[in-house]
């Protein structure tokens, strides 16, 4: 191998119609609206900020306790607390736009029509480069995960969002299903450009002293390193079945090595979720690790890693 100066590593990440400046984004619900991490993260190195899940109307969310720790993971039932899409656009979005941070809006409806309305409203919003339809939230009573459990329902909601916006459409899938490929296929056939996987695994934890569930709502979503093997498996299954569909991989990413694992399994980009709680600058560190790995292998682009697992 030559000892010449290393070729610059191309970080640009193409996800169908969506082009990002780096393959590392933040995972919805774990990075607020960006401002909470002001001064702690170099925003210019994020591919995008995926904001906390939005609904049409403001939502107060679940009663506390809303989170608890589990072995190498955590459970949450935030219940989609958010100020509603209008307040988001008026008060949260401008901060990110001023900083030139591409924004991906995470959409959550109780009905198909609500998803479509959200998509329409965000189509005009400055700085929003894509919408991510979350059909996998385990923490609300209506809508949310119900759509993501079944290919037909998935097709309905994705089809409606597709018609409602010209923006690149990401669909975020639930891992709590028998056949992730069937859901992925339904989403893509109904117009998804990109798939995000995975959302949290449904879990529960009980305090043996009070005998109560540790979360007020009982069940919640499991995230963090504990779920990484499940996430890698699902990314790989979907990649194998639908090799042309760009994927955003997430689930337990703390380091660059974790991100490489997701890319080898088939993800074109990765999202850092719980990792930001462990280390606020985790998304930056993940990118550092990816770059180091890419340089070591003398890659010209990180895209060369995608799906590169050797079977």
């Amino acid at each position: 191998m030559s000892e010449a100066a290393p070729a610059p590593l191309d970080l640009r990440t193409v996800l169908g119609p969506l082009e990002l400046r780096s393959p590392v984004v933040t995972a919805s619900g774990t990075f607020g609206y960006g401002i909470e991490y002001d001064g702690l993260v170099d925003f210019s190195r994020l591919g995008a900020v995926v904001v906390k899940g939005l609904t049409l109307e403001p939502r107060e969310g679940s009663p506390p306790p809303r989170i608890c720790e589990t072995p190498s993971g955590m459970l949450n039932s935030i219940g989609l607390e958010n100020p509603g899409v209008e307040v988001f656009i008026a008060e949260k979005l401008p901060w990110l736009v001023e900083r030139d941070v591409p924004v991906i809006a995470n959409l959550n409806g109780g009905t198909v029509e609500e998803y479509a309305q959200l998509a329409r409203r965000l189509g005009d919003a400055p700085g929003v480069v894509a919408v991510e339809a979350n059909i996998s939230c385990p923490n609300v009573d209506h809508g949310g995960m119900e759509f993501g459990k079944d290919p037909a329902q998935t097709a309905r909601v994705v089809g409606a969002v597709r018609e409602a916006t010209e923006l690149p459409l990401i669909v975020k899938l639930s891992p709590n299903v028998t056949d992730i490929v069937a859901i992925a296929r339904a989403a893509v056939e109904s117009g998804a450009n990109v798939l995000s996987l995975i959302n949290t695994l449904l879990g529960m934890s009980i305090d043996i002293f009070s005998r109560r569930p540790r979360l007020a709502r009982g069940k919640g979503g499991l995230s963090g390193p504990a779920i990484k093997p499940v996430a890698i498996r699902m990314v790989w299954e979907v990649r194998r079945a639908l090799p042309e569909v760009p994927l955003i991989g997430m689930g337990g990413i703390l380091t660059g090595a974790d991100a490489v694992e997701f890319m080898l399994a088939g993800a074109s980009a990765v999202a850092v979720g719980t990792g930001s709680f462990v280390t606020p600058s985790a998304a930056n560190q993940v990118l550092d690790g990816l770059i180091e790995y890419g340089r070591h292998l003398k890659l010209r682009s990180l895209a060369e890693l995608v799906g590169g697992v050797i079977l």
Partner: protein, 271 residues
């Protein structure tokens, strides 16, 4: 000394353990070198410590109130009660060990005019932020009420006594001071003072009682809350407690607090 650049002073730094002293079989006083945190911290703020610099168990950080700062050597003091695995690991740290420390975080105690009289109500390790307060702030009068299970658990009571005009202890077992709840002492203490401000930190029932007493007497009261934290910076919405006013409204302990005006809290809904 605010940051000249204008950027927010919250930093994630590698804090090196300088000293560790066991104050009781379950209380440790730790000092960490963390100059940016020491410089910017105000009483009531906290640091979010990663107890496992590598490894994923425990995964989340652990929050601790800042019990004092030393600007000369850039250190912060933490008073830790060992109750679980994360705190146990803090008790086993070697001097010099570096832990990721995020801070100073949260909203501290408000600026109370120096000419006013304050009552500090501390329960257990809730003494930590109040000791910082007592050390850092001047007031016409500072009265401290400090309760714990037993005399041994009234750690740092001597320091509190030095920095306050008066210290009234209480113990559940009667081994020192009042035999009973620390809040039993509050009404009489308030009787002696002119338009006092109450600052409290301790278990939730203690703070609820304190708030109730103050409300009945229309005394200004600020309470410092604990909760399970995820991010510590206001992003995850995991740490909320009920807000006063409309039902089902919440405030974040980590960013809207940990110090709240007692009027901001939805005490009835608190579980």
């Amino acid at each position: 000394m605010p940051d000249a650049s204008g950027s927010p002073p919250i930093k994630d730094v590698a804090a090196a353990l300088q000293t560790a002293r066991w104050l009781s079989p379950i209380h440790i006083l730790l000092t960490f070198r963390a100059p940016t945190i020491a410089t910017h911290a105000v009483p009531g703020q906290f640091v979010h410590l990663r107890v496992t610099p590598v490894g994923t168990s425990p995964l989340l950080r652990r929050p601790f109130s800042i019990a004092g700062t030393n600007l000369a050597d850039g250190t912060v003091r933490l008073l830790v009660r060992t109750i679980g695995r994360g705190t146990a690991m803090l008790g086993e740290l070697l001097l010099g060990a570096e832990l990721p420390a995020l801070g100073p975080l949260g909203r501290g105690f408000p600026d109370v005019r120096p000419d006013r009289e304050v009552v500090l109500v501390a329960g257990g390790v809730g003494v930590a932020p109040l000791l910082f307060y007592a050390t850092a702030r001047e007031h016409a009068r500072k009265v401290a009420l400090y309760g714990a299970e037993t005399q041994l658990a009234l750690v740092l009571a001597d320091e509190l006594a030095e920095t306050c005009d008066r210290l009234l202890p209480a113990t559940d077992d009667g081994t020192l001071g009042h035999h009973g709840f620390v809040t039993d002492l509050l009404p009489t203490a308030l009787d002696d003072l002119r338009d006092p401000v109450v600052l409290a930190c301790g278990p939730r029932p203690m703070m609820a009682k304190t708030a109730e007493v103050c409300r009945r007497r229309a005394v200004e009261c600020h309470v410092s809350f604990e909760a399970w934290l995820g991010c510590g910076v206001g992003a995850c919405l995991g740490c909320v407690i009920p807000a006063a006013g409309e039902p089902d409204r919440y405030v974040r302990v980590c960013r809207d607090g940990p110090v709240f005006d007692a009027e901001e809290i939805g005490w009835e809904a608190l579980r």
